[in-house]
Amino acid sequence: MKNILTALTLLFAGLSLQAQVLPSTTLKTLEGKQIDIKDAISTEGPTVISFWATWCKPCIKELTAFSDYAIDLEDEFGAKVLAVSIDDTRNSARVAPLVQGQGWDYTVLLDENQDLKRNLGIVNVPFTLVLNSAGEVVWKHSGYSPGDEETLAEVVKEVAAGKTPSH
């Protein structure tokens, strides 16, 4: 079992080394406008894409904890943060009021049919990606435990400086 796990880990590690760009996928803005994720990411600085849902408590904890960092990262490093909600169409009505009530300042997009989530092979939310200014996925993380926002902020700074993330 241990050998298999090691082999699997190596296999996935190997795969994740290849630079990935996002597959073209249509999302919706809160106003109901369709937009391709490729057109939503930043070309001038790092982009953080955080997958979340209104019913996912760790997701909301992560976005709330990260919001203090996000303000500085946007100002100082030109970072852009996209909060992609995987709520279905019915629940997506709850997204805008929740975002306001949490006082978040993120660009929120809706992945109502979970197409982007599936295309990226994401199992569960929360799931966070960091892209460099060339649009390549350079860092991924699944799940949230307190303190992960510190790691994420460090990663964004490294990516903004053109370095490979050390975590």
């Binding site: 699997l8 019915r90 709850r94 929740l98 306001q100 049919n113 307190p146 303190g147």
Partner: protein, 561 residues
């Protein structure tokens, strides 16, 4: 077990080889893998007769998804394996195989998929095919889907196929069309005035052979829906209406009554304030691609709940499940962030939220069973303006979250729940309750939850929860304590105990301890848990399954790439 892992590994290696050879053409491979298992231990306190103790002792299941994208093309598949399916999941998952595979071609205005796909029209009242792996819910379509954008602002979808039924397909065929028109894209003037307006409509029909010795069954059953979304500044309105032609089914007792549903939502979001007011009414809207289907099998549409989802362990014991044969309800919710650096808000600001949701039966006047023909044709009559008299559920809750200083933040919640166990757990119909209302099993509970998060030092956090559920009903009062210690970014330790001190049966005043360790590295996560779990109902999006009590060691491995 080993054999299973090895065979999966072989599949993975095979795919990696393909992926890497394709990589030179600029393609992308993404995917994920999950493996769960539990070693069950015999526990006579929670399961005296051993009825929930599996013969296999160890149950394990896993799956892997692969999606390959190259330019305008993509394709994917999922392999699933259940040896045997874990307790609480639908028994239909038995064995192994490739349950999901598709090819897709996508260019500017056209998107064609053949094979398996997930899709939905509007809110899903007419059609929604989706998966919820944690629930064991998967009604993926197998067939053809075409999406087109023939004119600015106009989006068309067409679907044709059959739905997944575990390792088989549903007997009925599903055909549907949906059109959505974004008027704002079509009329830039609306946009410049700040209006966003979308309208949509859908039509869907299912075909299933009907050869019943007594009933002339409709083989083609049609549904249709219209919807709109309107936004102006902080205000938004969403409304949807759906109609279903007569569809005698095991859900509705084989009556020929038609069905309908309406959902309306009004929201306001601005300056730290979010408000939601919603109302809905559904009447006889169960719709499956097999009229004899039950539980979560082969549902064509999706009727979402208008209640809040609770994630704390004790309130989550009594979650609402949508009653597809008829219900009406309203929901009011407010979220507000009191600004930072104010007297009330404190240094960091304070979040407050309140929610009230209530659901009850719709008005139903049942036709006297002695009038056999009318009874079969009509079943009951319902006045949409009259109130139903059977309460199903209500939830009032209030929550305050506040960051006190750099190291400490807390959330305090109060909930008042009412839960009709006869309806939500035993599935008792409205007519049976109307005949004998005093026979209902009801639950009233008051719940308090306090949660605190303390930062010990950079990347070291301690989180605790204290919960109290007080009730005279069902299993009686319970208390819970939880402690978590996390060392970002890799380690996570958790211990918890639920004590059912108020159980009316003194022998069942038990402790339910559970300890877990989680290791996360990037996108991979390994979890190991040991402990006792009480019987419960696990729900996602208003769809629920019953989880039996268990004791044992469980593990879960997930990764994505």
């Amino acid at each position: 077990m080993n054999k299973f892992s090895l065979s999966l590994l072989a599949v993975l290696v095979g795919f990696t080889a393909v992926a890497q050879s394709q990589e030179t053409f600029g393609g992308q491979l993404h995917g994920n893998f999950q493996l769960d298992g539990q070693l069950y231990l015999r526990d006579e306190a929670i399961d005296p007769s051993g009825e929930f103790f599996p013969d296999e002792r160890f149950l394990g299941q896993g799956y892997a998804n692969f999606v390959y994208t190259q330019g305008d093309f993509s394709g994917g598949l999922r392999y699933e394996n259940y040896q045997n399916v874990m307790l609480g999941f639908p028994e239909g998952y038995r064995g192994e195989g490739i349950t999901y595979r598709y090819l897709q071609f996508k260019q500017d205005n056209l998107d064609v998929t053949v094979g398996s796909f997930y899709e939905q029209f509007g809110s899903g009242m007419v059609f929604r095919s989706y998966e919820e792996r944690g629930l064991g819910y998967d009604n993926a379509m197998d067939g053809v889907r075409v999406k087109a954008n023939p004119a600015k602002g106009l989006y068309l979808k067409g679907v044709l196929g059959r739905q997944r039924f575990y390792f088989e397909k549903s007997p009925g065929i599903v055909r549907g069309l949906d059109a959505e028109y974004n008027l704002t894209e079509f009329m830039p003037k609306l946009d410049s005035l700040g209006y966003r307006w979308t309208i949509g409509g859908s039509f869907l029909s299912k075909y299933q052979r009907g050869n019943d010795p007594f009933l002339v069954l409709p083989e083609n059953v049609a549904t249709g829906g219209i919807r709109t979304q309107f936004t102006k500044g902080p205000w938004a309105v969403q409304a949807e209406y759906a109609y279903k032609a007569n569809d005698p089914s095991s859900d509705n007792g084989y009556i020929y009554k038609d069905g309908n549903g309406i959902i309306v939502n009004l929201t306001y979001s601005k300056n730290g304030l979010g408000l939601i007011a919603g109302a809905k009414r559904i009447d006889n809207m169960s719709f499956r691609s097999d009229r004899n289907g039950s539980t979560i099998d082969m549902l064509i549409n999706y009727l979402s709940p208008t209640t809040q989802v609770h994630t704390y362990a004790l309130p989550a014991l009594y979650q609402y499940a949508t009653q597809i044969n008829g219900e009406e309800g309203i929901q009011l919710e407010a979220n507000y962030k009191i600004k930072r650096k104010t007297k009330l808000g404190g240094k960091y600001g304070t979040l407050i939220s309140a929610n009230y949701s209530v659901v009850q039966s719709i008005d139903k006047q049942f036709v006297d069973p002695s009038n056999d023909t009318l009874r079969t044709l009509q079943g009951y009559t319902s006045d949409p303006l009259a109130r139903g008299d059977i309460p199903y559920f209500h939830d009032f809750n209030f929550k305050v979250s506040r960051k006190v200083n750099k190291r400490f933040k807390y959330t305090a919640s109060y909930l008042n729940l009412f839960y009709n166990r006869s309806v939500l757990e035993d599935g008792l119909g409205d007519e049976a309750i109307q005949i004998n209302p005093s026979n209902q099993k009801l639950l009233n509970a008051n719940i308090l939850v306090f949660e605190g998060l303390y930062k010990i030092k950079s990347k070291h956090y301690l989180r605790g929860e204290a919960q109290s559920l007080r009730t005279q009903d069902d299993r009686g009062s319970m208390a819970m304590m939880l402690l978590e210690y996390s060392v970002a970014p890799h380690w996570f330790f958790s211990v918890q105990d639920i004590y059912n001190y108020g159980n009316p049966d003194a022998d069942q005043r038990l402790h339910y301890p559970l300890a877990s360790v989680i290791y996360t590295a990037g996108t991979s996560r390994f979890q190991l848990s040991y402990g006792r779990q009480q019987r419960g109902i696990f729900c996602v999006g208003g769809v629920c399954r019953v989880v039996p009590p268990s004791n044992g060691v469980s593990f879960s491995l997930t990764t994505s790439f």
